[in-house]
């Protein structure tokens, strides 16, 4: 039986009827059309489905949509500002942190969440923060550099 839930996604309120067995990632992607959140494994191994839920980055493939009822969600679509790219996104572009791009939304969100908690992280902290987000393309180095670059820019 469908249930009515309320989500606040990227500062916008939604009321949706969902089945209990629908995951948050599927509702975001297929019901709300927020396809920036990716699915690489669907069992919590890769981090490509990362969203920020109540301030914390989580694997949205492991969260039921009903569990998210009443919670505040940020997806990659909510990172871009009205004025253009978020500084973190600028750093990802400038530093060459993006190759195939499939891990990128999750990486950006994990990184953003880190910088919100810890504006001046060291390399080990950066690497730990993105250690649940697999990237097969970059070897991580330029992603780490991008996060560092953004931290420098924003705390200068």
């Amino acid at each position: 039986m469908k249930r009515l839930i309320k989500l606040r996604v990227n500062d916008k309120d939604y009321e949706l009827a969902v089945e209990p067995n629908q995951t948050l990632v599927d509702v975001l992607r297929y019901t709300l059309g927020l396809t920036g959140t990716k699915k690489g494994c669907e069992v919590g191994d890769c981090g490509s489905c990362t969203v920020i839920m109540d301030g914390k980055p989580v694997n949205s493939c492991l969260v039921l949509a009903v569990q998210a009822n009443g919670r505040v969600i940020r997806t990659i679509e909510g990172v871009e500002a009205d004025t253009g790219l978020h500084p973190l996104q600028v750093s990802f572009v400038d530093k060459g942190a993006v190759q195939c791009g499939f891990c990128t939304p999750g990486m950006v969100l994990s990184a953003q969440s880190l910088l919100e908690r810890n504006p001046k992280p060291n390399e080990a902290e950066i690497r730990t923060a993105i250690s649940g987000n697999l990237c097969r393309c970059t070897g991580y180095q330029k992603i780490v550099e991008a996060i560092h670059d953004c931290s420098e820019k924003m705390t200068r």
Binding site: R3, P20, N21, L62, L64, G132
Partner: protein, 294 residues
């Protein structure tokens, strides 16, 4: 990957939760962080008819230190446990265990309750908790019982929790001066790992340079459940810590372990690693004990 169909309940209080669990019985599973349960349901290993979500119950997210005890709400996530100052300072091995679990994303979902109840032999919470002598509180509408974690695990995926019960709380004793613990995990990668072997050790000394009064060694992934290492512990009692002593305890713990061969590693290797990791965990425990002046 689709989930099978199920009914869903979302109690707001423990009382309500116990009620629902009691009414629904056998085919129900409690859903905490979901990092094990949802995966098993997607893989069609489990298909409960009903899920009772515990994540909205505030009582399960409290900590309380009074009466010489330290109580941890079982609904706290691994990340919350890992970052809690009180745990970092007093129960460093627990904090360490919590921060080794899965990945940062998983740690924001996975709870202590879930990690204990899913009873994976290689799980990260049981060894440090058992080393600290933890008990768990199991609640149902007909009352509550307190069970030592030593007795809690029955086999892979199996515990003595009854279908209508909820694991609500972990109870630890306040640490005495000159006692402390260590936790070491060995995996192939640096993170996102199921332990090949993990070991936690606890010691209490009768003074900064004194002998070992009590010792607990807990071995993970080398038996159907996390194991205490009785002969390893025995070897330590009444002795002054030394390299030779730790070597002896390590060897004895290896003897106590009951590893099997599987595709992640051989029994032989795991046994040898129990030896190495026990020594290292004990070393950490002794250092922690010596600096714990409380």
């Amino acid at each position: 990957m689709l989930l099978p169909k199920f009914d869903y309940h979302e109690p707001a209080t423990l009382g309500e939760a116990c009620q629902v669990m009691g009414d629904l019985g056998q085919k129900t599973k409690a859903l905490a962080g979901g990092t094990d349960l949802i995966v098993n349901m997607k893989k069609k290993i489990l298909s409960p008819a009903c899920l009772v979500y515990l994540g909205r119950i505030k009582e399960m997210k409290k900590i309380d230190s009074s009466n010489g005890l330290f109580k941890i709400g079982a609904g706290l996530t691994a990340a919350e446990v890992a970052e809690m100052e009180e745990i970092k300072n007093n129960y460093s091995a627990l904090s360490r265990g919590a921060s080794c679990l899965g990945s940062p994303l998983i740690r924001n979902l996975a709870t202590i309750a879930g990690n204990l109840v899913s009873a994976r032999p290689a799980a990260d919470f049981p060894p440090p908790l058992m080393a600290y002598g933890a008990r768990v509180v199991l609640k149902s509408s007909s009352g509550e019982r307190v069970v030592s974690l030593d007795d809690f695990f029955k086999g892979p995926g199996q515990t003595l929790i009854a279908p209508e019960e909820i694991l609500t709380e972990i109870v630890l004793d306040k640490l005495r001066p000159f006692s402390g613990a260590g936790y070491i995990k060995l995996g192939t990668r640096q993170t996102l790992e199921i332990s090949l072997v993990n070991v936690a050790a606890f010691v209490s000394l009768d003074g900064p340079d004194g002998v070992i009064k009590t010792a607990r060694i807990v071995l993970g992934a080398v038996g159907p459940v996390p194991l205490r290492a009785p002969s390893g512990e025995k070897a330590l009692i009444g002795e002054k810590p030394s390299e030779a002593l730790l070597a002896k305890a390590g060897e004895a713990a290896a003897f106590d372990s009951k590893p099997i061969d599987d595709y992640r590693g051989s029994a032989e290797y795991r046994r040898a690693m129990v030896d190495v990791l026990t020594r290292r965990a004990l070393n950490e425990a002794i250092n922690a004990a010596r600096s714990n002046l409380n």
